[in-house]
Amino acid sequence: MLDLPLIWAGLLSLGVFIYVALDGFDLGIGLLFPFLACDEDRDVAMNTVAPVWDGNETWLILGGGGLFAAFPLAYAIVMPALYAPFIIMLLALVFRGVAFEYRWRDKAHERLWDASFVFGSFMATFMQGIVLGTFVQGIEVEGRAYAGGWWDWLTPFTLMTGAALCAGYALLGSGWLALKTEGALRQQAYRFAKLSALGTFFFVGVVSLWTPFLSPEIYARWFTLPHFYFVAPVPLLTIVVAGLIAWGIRKQVDGIIYPATIVLLGLCFIGLGVGLTPYIVPRAITIQQAAAPDSSLLFMLVGALVMLPLILAYTGYSYWIFRGKVRHGQGGYH
């Protein structure tokens, strides 16, 4: 028989990863927004993501809905444990989501909505980083419920993962901007890329060195044999990819930074996941314990196997339609 919980853990991880790769760049644009020189540049930056942002955000709904559906127990524990970060993230996404339309509708208050876009993008990203960090550091559970305090999610480690994700999304945003723009704005994108790459490398390094010391179990995953042989390629590959990003920035190869950053973040997830398995709520509830019954998982799997390829196909097609550089005064319908 198929190990349905494991398949669903894989599919959900894939969904979250796609979310990071896609919404990461449009959140990143929000982080870079205040540093863009002029209104025209902001308009162009906004127009590069306007046709795709809410498709990107749908992957986050899939993450929340999928966790609810496939691992209801984990959802029921994680949401109260991360109450404040999730509420803040959701409100922040409201702040930035409405700005996409509002800023064009009210030129007198364009600055206000730009600020709303920046604030929302930053808070959402930072909170997602905190959520990630809390997952890695562990969640206290008693019976079938969260048993920790209201502020357990706020630790130096989670602040660090929050900062790391901000740097990572800014790098994704820079890479996207380099890909989608030209002229002075593209040059600007490379300057952003340089700074955010340095930030990303630094914070990823700190988090990577810190993680094994969070718990003896994670330490054992990394530094005992034979585990070490399996996990050692992850940091090595990360360094190679970081080198590739640095090369792409120096040589200004538009098509390098964005995809390479996706790979880099993917490696980071694998690195964090190494310490997590077989748990879905770290060191408390395993994937198997939290899983919905096979009848639920199988019913969804049929839908997912039919729909996901279709979704990827038409999402890809939509990106294809809007391919190429976006210029001033073009790309909007407003």
Partner: protein, 468 residues
Amino acid sequence: MLEFFDAAMLARIQFAFTVSFHIIFPAFSIGLASYLFVLEGLWLKTNNPVYLNLYKYWLKIFAMAFGMGVVSGLVMSYQFGTNWSVFSDKAGPVIGPLLAYEVLTAFFLEAGFLGIMLFGMERVGKRLHFFATAMVAVGTLLSATWILSVNSWMQTPVGHAMNEQGQFVPADWLAIIFNPSFPYRLLHMTLASYLTVSFVVGAVGAWHLLHDKFNAEARKMFSMAMWMATFVAPLQIFAGDLHGLNTLEHQPIKVAAMEGHWHRQTGAPFLLFAWPDEAAEENRFEIGIPYASALVLTHDIKGETPGLTDVSAADRPPVGMVFWSFRIMLLIGTLMAAVGVYSAWRRWRGTLYEGRWFQRVALWMGPSGFVAVLAGWVVTEVGRQPFTVYGLLRTSESLAPVDAPAVAASLVAFIVVYFALFGAGTYYILRMMRAVPDGEGPERGTPQRAAGTTPLASMASDARKGGL
């Protein structure tokens, strides 16, 4: 008073607040997506530019409403867990997969084609653009289908079993999806959404007719809206009656609350006014139409109808809220049908675009659909109390292990942010509706810059806005 606001009550208020705000946008975008589909289809068929102008006009409004729907809906997919985690744990195996199907079949479809719909007119052919519009419209309807299936299962749960952890587990998926109240709720809500949009479109048309009765776009949209009112409003009353009978069969106590009937009786009156007193288990200031309730509910003036005292007080919903929301919905439904019938008469007489007072009525009826939708949802959701899964899982047993201060703080945050941001959005939508629909774009008639800007500056600002 203070102990009334415990964590459970605060969490309920929070859910009610966020979901009520949210439903306004889908109720609007479900109907509007279908309207846009019709407009673009008619444009492709007839090549009449009036349809294209109307399409572009409503498309911008759709984009605003859709964006607000997305972000307020995202909140909902996490609210189950933050405040109702025990419910999520127990009901997750049944309703989770249905929500997952909603995301997979509907949300991605809408979001994936929305970009092409909004920004792609210059980049893809007419047919493909029309296909994108169709996919967005289909997506909104699929979304309604799945979420109403979930809601209906919570009202009329079937097709499940219980496991040893106390979770509802699926036994028969078809029975779960097509649970007894689902077809009625789906029909009723879809028609409600279409009517809501019809009256909004009708009001915008009426507003512009009041200013210029020869405006071709205003005439067209007013006429289309009134056709809908004529045919769909009576149909909706019929669908609502079917839905009510279904509720009588499966949730008789909810019907007793809607009717304000405390005792099982034959030949029950329909109460036009009453002040239900829960402590005394009776109504004050009752005014009713004799036998009317029995006739509607049992199709027999001597028929027997349920009363609230059929069950113990602990199993009853809050009566006053259900009773009064139901009356608000009925009143609006009746007014809508009256507008529809009267407009048909005017159309037949050839005076549909004349009568200024009728246009004023249509204008004031603009927001009525939203009020009716909210009132209807209050009836069905408050009427489900004190259960989350009707008869099986109590609301009080569904709550997350959250503290009142945490829920209170987040509730205040939601209220402040929603009123500020969605309030601004509603203002912008109204401003867009004020613009004359003549194909010149909504900027005309609504100066975007303060007086004193040079023509050059405003041209530059137009250039920044780009295409279409």
